[in-house]
């Protein structure tokens, strides 16, 4: 398993149009990025198409990746998420119904969650835990399932602007907690 430094170096070489580096980057990261677009789009054929687009963007934008910024994986995942969410928002027709109760019940705290609680990765879980259950659900549902304000509002049966107001407040609270 390559380290974040390895991935950074590969991205730097891809920025120089180094094709073997691109092949290697694909080999090491395509499964994670495919998992991202597949979960968000929930459609295998579209996810395959999206993954191709994502790596075209990686090839074209590698020169904009700066090592000083986020981890290379979160940079790559951001490209994948943004592309998948753009596709979701461009879809016509009503979005698939969502089941809040099931999704809230689903991610029960795993043994792993307890052990990583103090670590960097666990911090977001801690901070989400300080939010109201439905607000924490909305953050997860948006980030992991690609739910829009409209879907969240419909699901919680709350006016869209109300959802927007409390979610924005929740996000700022979340950031405060993460920066503590």
């Amino acid at each position: 398993m390559p380290t974040p430094d390895d991935i950074s170096r590969l991205i730097a070489r891809v920025a120089l149009a180094d094709r073997p580096a691109f092949d290697s980057l694909y080999a090491h990261t395509s499964a994670k990025l495919f998992g991202v677009v597949l979960r968000l789009l929930n459609d295998r054929a579209e996810a395959e198409d999206a993954l191709q687009e994502v790596f075209v963007k990686v090839w074209q934008r590698a020169d904009r990746y700066t090592v000083s910024g986020a981890s290379p994986m979160s940079w790559l995942i951001a490209i994948a998420r943004n592309h998948a969410i753009d596709r979701l928002r461009a879809r016509r027709g009503p979005a698939a119904p969502i089941d809040v109760a099931a999704e809230i019940a689903d991610p029960a705290p795993s043994p792993e969650a307890a052990t990583v609680a103090a670590s960097e990765r666990g911090r977001i879980e801690n901070c989400l835990g300080r939010l109201d259950t439905y607000r924490a659900w909305a953050v997860r549902a948006a980030y992991l399932e690609g739910h829009s304000y409209r879907q969240i509002a419909d699901r919680l049966d709350v006016p869209l602007n109300t959802v927007r107001t409390w979610l924005r407040r929740s996000l700022l609270k979340l950031r405060q907690c993460l920066e503590e």
Partner: protein, 230 residues
């Protein structure tokens, strides 16, 4: 969503960046935010910061191996017009702007350039040229022992619709050893690089995606040639 995309205070900018990263905005607002991030470095930095804040959730995305067809389609899309690999050979051929002339002209130029390249006189270089009277396929390859694998540049024939092109060398006993698929995504057989000597026979065959499944080539030969030692 039709709310305005510009908000007065820094808190509002930050909330907007967070909403964008979270993905809750509608199509128009997302496009407006992305356009603004492209113009304003400070706003782009807010978005990057939020990507970092929320990255802790990324571990909930499971890894799912994509089918091999995705990478093939991607390669066709990104590299169909370019030389298949970007190494010293393709750079040399591109700088000579000769590869479009076909295999023979490319090899002649390459042999001339390499044979008169006095910068590394001690280094043995092997050039492989392959073509066919029956197909449009042509390849030039370069191998410097001790300096990585074989670099192959396709000089004619384009990418196959289905499957991969695989490069073979025949050892002294006439047994074929794979040098990998020509786009360099599979490794050579053990001993294959050692079989690359002046005068050795080489061939390219059309194989299933990822190369021949068995020992030796299974698909049709599309080009043949010989190793030239310099």
């Amino acid at each position: 969503m039709s709310e305005p995309t510009s908000y007065p205070g820094p808190e509002d900018d930050d909330a907007l960046a967070a909403e964008y990263v979270l993905g809750v905005l509608g199509a128009e607002e997302r496009a407006a935010v992305a356009a603004r991030a492209a113009r304003e470095a400070g706003f782009a930095a807010r978005i990057a910061a939020w990507e970092g804040h929320l990255a802790g959730l990324d571990r909930h995305f499971a890894e799912v191996a994509p089918p091999a067809s995705v990478k093939r389609a991607l390669d066709r899309r990104l590299f169909a017009d370019a030389a298949p690999r970007s190494g010293p050979l393709s750079r040399l051929l591109n700088s000579l702007a000769l590869w479009r002339l076909g295999t023979l002209a490319a090899v002649a130029a390459l042999v001339l350039v390499l044979a008169t390249d006095l910068r590394r006189p001690q280094e043995l270089t092997l050039v492989l040229s392959l073509d066919s009277a029956d197909t449009a396929y042509g390849f030039v390859a370069l191998y410097r022992p001790g300096a990585g694998g074989v670099e192959v540049v396709q000089t004619g024939g384009g990418a196959p619709d289905d499957g991969d092109l695989e490069l073979w060398v025949f050892d002294a006993a006439g047994a074929p050893l794979s040098l990998g698929v020509v786009d360099g995504t599979t490794p050579p057989d053990p001993g294959a690089l050692g079989a690359l000597v002046d005068g050795a026979d080489v061939a390219v065959t059309l194989e299933p995606p990822g190369g021949s499944r068995g020992r030796g080539p299974q698909g049709p030969v599309v080009a043949t040639g010989r190793v030239i030692g310099l």
